[in-house]
């Protein structure tokens, strides 16, 4: 069996390099992640937020429907009655404790769907990895946005913060 030097050696190599040459000018597909992020889809579900009304009152009324809808059973809600002197939400009740076990959550968004007041929302911050298991119990203080509309504000990653 004779091996043709042109047909079996040089031509495949050249055609291989031809593909390389054709792709040289193509647009790079790699997203340079820590410096730049890829555009997330509008309904991406990552980090949870407890939102507020424009008046600053919390939307959460402590009904525990999110905890009931959660397939992973990772939400814990403890609610109490609002009083006129201590008013947190416009309804009768509010959540004194609102905890999500972020490590057990599967980000299905059922809590968002179940919420009657639209209090809990899932937004685009995916930088949630951490070193210790204890740090993944997100308390109400961590979840509650500090001002109304914070959850909808464009999210800046931790490495982008460090860069500025």
């Amino acid at each position: 069996m004779s091996v043709s030097l042109w047909k079996h050696v040089a031509k495949p190599i050249l055609s291989g390099f031809g593909i390389t040459a054709r792709r040289l000018g193509a647009k790079k597909v790699t997203v340079q992640y820590p410096e730049e992020r890829r555009e997330q889809f509008p309904r991406t579900r990552w980090r949870h937020f407890l939102t507020r009304y424009d008046s600053g009152l919390e939307k959460c009324i402590g009904c525990s429907l999110c905890a009931g809808a959660c397939p992973a059973r990772c939400i814990n809600v403890v609610s109490a009655e609002n009083t006129d002197s201590e008013r947190y939400s416009p309804g009768e009740r509010y959540a004194t404790r609102y905890e999500i076990n972020m490590i057990r959550c599967i980000f299905c968004g059922y809590c968002q769907d179940a919420c009657p007041t639209g209090a809990i929302v899932l937004r685009k911050n995916f930088e949630l990895a951490d070193y210790k298991r204890e740090d993944f119990i997100y308390t109400k203080e961590m979840l509650l946005e500090s001002f109304p509309g914070e959850a909808d504000a464009p999210w800046v990653g931790k490495y982008e913060v460090a860069k500025k």
């Binding site: 790699t30 057990r104 959550c105 599967i106 995916f126 990895a129 070193y131 210790k132 993944f136």
Partner: protein, 192 residues
């Protein structure tokens, strides 16, 4: 002498987190620390340990769109002898737990573990008799990644977090911290 914080969390990793050891001046080996940590952090070879759907995202992380090779972690090793970091990708069943432990023991020191996804980190939705409720019951985990599954971005973020952690470890202190503590090791026979 470095002051060591005495509270030992069982499921915490054997490698110290920043803040576990208070800073002690060490003139002699401080540059070696930096050198070794840079070398270790920038060539983390992961062990191929895909257990479930998270493994698909792990593969996507190595592919060209996200390109884990930018951080020196592209060489996925099929043998634990050549791996530095074990990415537990997927739910860990109780039958798989002894295997995981054995493979972890076969990895050479220094070694790290990334627990990828809700199932590996805590059991996720599978709160049942078959799934280990957190891989940290079997091996010490360094970085937990939430998500079901975590997107490649989130996994890259975890790798970066691990690199940060490695860069902050003190080489000469690890030796006195990581003697094999038999009491802390879980007997894997119990699970099987």
């Amino acid at each position: 002498m470095p002051k060591r914080i005495e509270t030992v969390v069982l499921h915490d990793s054997s490698t110290p987190v920043l803040g576990d050891i208070q800073k002690a001046g060490n003139v002699v080996v401080t540059s070696i620390d930096t050198l070794l940590n840079q070398a270790r952090a920038n060539s983390l070879w992961p062990l191929t340990f895909g257990l479930a759907c998270c493994a698909i995202e792990m593969m996507a992380t190595v592919a060209s769109r996200f390109d884990l090779a930018r951080f020196g972690s592209e060489a996925f090793r099929a043998t634990p002898r050549q791996a530095d970091v074990m990415i537990i990708a997927g739910r860990l069943s109780k039958k798989m737990a002894p295997v995981l432990r054995q493979i972890y023991d076969q990895m050479p020191e220094p070694k790290w573990v990334i627990s990828m996804g809700a199932c590996a980190s805590s059991g996720g939705v599978y709160n049942n008799y078959a799934i280990v409720q957190g891989a940290d019951q079997v091996v010490p985990v360094d970085v937990y990644v939430p998500g079901c599954p975590p997107s490649p971005d989130a996994l890259i973020y975890a790798v970066l977090k691990l690199q940060d952690k490695i860069k902050k470890t003190k080489f000469n202190k690890i030796i006195e911290i990581t003697p094999r503590n038999v009491a802390n090791e879980m007997p894997v026979e119990v699970l099987a």
